[in-house]
C-alpha cells in the first residue's frame, strides 16, 4: 500500500502560521498561571510597556512577577524546548537514525558531570551553569577525539564513542553523588539532574539565547546540505557536498545548542527524541521545513509541560514529567511510523 505525500503532510504555508499562533497564545496564556493572579489584559499591557510608552495602571509587584519571574521561565521553556527539538531533528537527519536524541554524543552526561562537580565545589548558580555548559562541550569534544582514533569516519564509531563518553560521565556523576553531602549537596545534584526551570532568571535566558539562536541560524543555513547527507556519504559527495565539513558544522551547532539548553534547564529528556518525530509526521522529512516546525513544536511542548509543573501543588521536576508524557507518546508515534521504518 502506498500513500501520497500531499495527503500525508500538511502544507507548510498553513502549518507554520498555525503553529506560530498557537505558541504565541500559549506564551501569553502561561503568564496567567501562578499564585499571583494577573488578567490577560494586564499581561499584554506590561509586556507592551517594554516597547511602547504606556501609563502604568498596574502595581509594581505585578510588573516584577510578570517580567522578572514568569517571563524568564516562559522564555526559557520556549528556548530550551525549541533547542532540544531542533538538535534532535538535526541529529536524526545527520545520523539517518530516528532513534537518536541530542544526548547521543554525550553532551547531557557531560553537562550533568559539570553541574555535579560545580555543586560539590559549592560554586554559585552561575558557576554551575558555566561548568555544565563547558563540560557538555568537552564531552562532545572527547567523543569526536575518540572516534578520530579509528579514522574511519563512520557514524557508528561516533555513536559508540558517544556511548562510551556518556557512560564514563555517568559513572563520575554517580561518584560525585556518592561523596556529596547527603543533607545539602546530594539533593541539589539529584534535582538538577532531573531538570527544571524554577531557578531560571533573566540573565540565564539572555546567556542561553545567544548560542541557541546562533546555532539555529547555522543549522538553517545548511538545511539543504543536511537533506543531501540523507543520501549517504557517497551520495552527498557525488552531488558536490563536502559531507565531512557539513557533519562537523551540524555537530558543533547542535552541541552548542544542547549544551546551552542543558546548562539552563538541567537534563530534560525525550523532547529531542519525540518532537522531531511529531514534526516529521506533520511536514515530512525535508529539513528545510522540519527544522522550524521542530523549533516551534519543541518550544510549545516544553512550555505546556512546564505550565503543568507550575500548576501542581508541589512542583515536580520537569525531566520526570517530560519522560512520563514522552515515553507512552513515543510508543504511539512509533505505531504510526513503524511501516516506514521497516
Amino acid at each position: 500500500m502506498t500513500h501520497e505525500m500531499k495527503k500525508r503532510f500538511l502544507p507548510i504555508s498553513v502549518l507554520l502560521p498555525l503553529l506560530g499562533g498557537l505558541v504565541a497564545a500559549l506564551f501569553l496564556g502561561s503568564f496567567l498561571l501562578g499564585r499571583y493572579p494577573i488578567l490577560p489584559g494586564q499581561v499584554a499591557e506590561i509586556l507592551a510597556s517594554r516597547f511602547i510608552h504606556l501609563p502604568q495602571s498596574w502595581p509594581d509587584t505585578m510588573e516584577t512577577v510578570v517580567l522578572k519571574i514568569r517571563l524568564p521561565r516562559i522564555a526559557a521553556a520556549l528556548l530550551v524546548g525549541g533547542a532540544l527539538a531542533s538538535s534532535g531533528a538535526a541529529y536524526q537527519s545527520l545520523f539517518k537514525n530516528p532513534l537518536v536524541s541530542p544526548a547521543i554524543l554525550g553532551v547531557s552526561a557531560g553537562a550533568g558531570l559539570g553541574a555535579a562537580l560545580a555543586m560539590l565545589l559549592s560554586l554559585p548558580w552561575f558557576g554551575v551553569q558555566a561548568m555544565a555548559f563547558g563540560f557538555g562541550l568537552a564531552a562532545v569534544a572527547c567523543t569526536l577525539s575518540i572516534s578520530k582514533i579509528f579514522s574511519t569516519g563512520a557514524m557508528t564509531v561516533l555513536v559508540l564513542a558517544g556511548l562510551v563518553v556518556s557512560a564514563f560521565c555517568e559513572a563520575l556523576i554517580s561518584t560525585a553523588k556518592y561523596v556529596a553531602d547527603p543533607i545539602d549537596k546530594l539533593p541539589s545534584i539529584t534535582f538538577w539532574l532531573m531538570g527544571g526551570l524554577a531557578r531560571v532568571g533573566p540573565r540565564d535566558v539572555t546567556l542561553a539565547a545567544f548560542p541557541i539562536c546562533i546555532s539555529f541560524i547555522v543549522l538553517y543555513l545548511v538545511r539543504w546540505q543536511v537533506n543531501v547527507l540523507g543520501l549517504g556519504e557517497e551520495g552527498a559527495l557525488a552531488l558536490g557536498v563536502d559531507s565531512r565539513r557539513i557533519k562537523i558544522i551540524v555537530i558543533l551547532a547542535t552541541t552548542l545548542m544542547s549544551a546551552a539548553a542543558v546548562s539552563v534547564a538541567g537534563v530534560v529528556g525525550w523532547v529531542g527524541l519525540l518532537i522531531p518525530h511529531i514534526a516529521r509526521m506533520l511536514v515530512g522529512p525535508n529539513f528545510q521545513v522540519l527544522l522550524p516546525v521542530s523549533l516551534l513544536l519543541g518550544g510549545g511542548y516544553l512550555l505546556l509541560v512546564d505550565d503543568l509543573v507550575r500548576s501542581m501543588n508541589v512542583e515536580m521536576p520537569l525531566g520526570i514529567l517530560t519522560a512520563i508524557i514522552g515515553a507512552p507518546f513515543f510508543v504511539f508515534v512509533m505505531t504510526r511510523v513503524r511501516r516506514r521504518w521497516a
Binding site: T2, M5, Q92, N227, V228, E234, A238, V241, D242, R340
Partner: protein
Amino acid sequence: MGLSVEVAHLSYGYPNQDILLRDISFTVRAGETLCLLGPNGSGKTTLLLCLLAIHQLAAGSVSIGTSNIHHMSRKKLAREIAYVPQSIATAFPFSVFDMVLMGRTPHLSKFSVASAEDEEQAGGALERLGIIHLKDRAFNEISGGERQLVLIARALCQEARVMIMDEPTASLDYGNQIRILQIINELRDSGYAIIVTTHNPDHALLAATHAAIMKNGRIVFHGSPDEIITSQNLSGLYATKIHVLKTSFPGEPGSEVKVCIPRM
C-alpha cells in the same frame, strides 16, 4: 556539447593495503557507453568511486574534457559527472520530487535552496522518464524499478554530461531491466558519455558501444562488445561454460543479435 572521460594508467589501493586497481586506461566520448563487466570483487564499483574522486588515486589520472578531476572542486565535478548508485537507503520518507530536486545541489550557491526554476528542472526530468505521477510518493515506498528511474531522473536533473551508473539493473525484474537499458541508449543518443557496470554480459551487447572486462583489479579485455563478449572470454572469466550465440528476430533475417547462454 558533450564531454569525454579519459582514464590514464589509474591505480588505486585502500590506505595500507594492497593495490586494488592496476594500470587502468580507457576513454569514453560523448555519445558512447562503456559497459564494465567482471565478477564480484573485480573492482568495478571501486573504479567508479575513483572516477567520482571519492577515492584518491595511487597513480594515474582521470580527466573530464581537458580537466583533471582531482584539480576540480567537488561542486564543479558534480556539474560534470552524475552518479546513479545501485540503490539508496533513506531513513526517512523523502518524496520522489525531493529526491530528484537534490540533483540540483551542484548548481546551488552556498546556503541557498532550490528555486522555482530548479523545481521545473526536477519536474522536467520526471516527465522525461515518464514517472511524473510518482512525484508526491515516498521514495522508500515505491518499487525497485521505480526507484532506479527516480535516481536516473535525479542524475538528469544534475545536468551533467557524463553519467556513471553502478549496476542500474541489479535486482530489477526483466521488464524493468529492459526499460533501463532503453533509457541508457536514449541518454547515449542525446550526447551523454556513459559508464555503466553490470553482471549481465547481454546488457553490454544490448546497450554498450564499448565494453571492458575486469578481473582482479585490471582490465583484461577492452573493445567493442562484439569483439570481447565471446564464449572463450566469458567462460574464462566466470569459470563456467558460456556460449555466445548468434541469432535473429523471428521473420527478420538480417537482424543479427548475440545472446549469452550458460551451459548448465
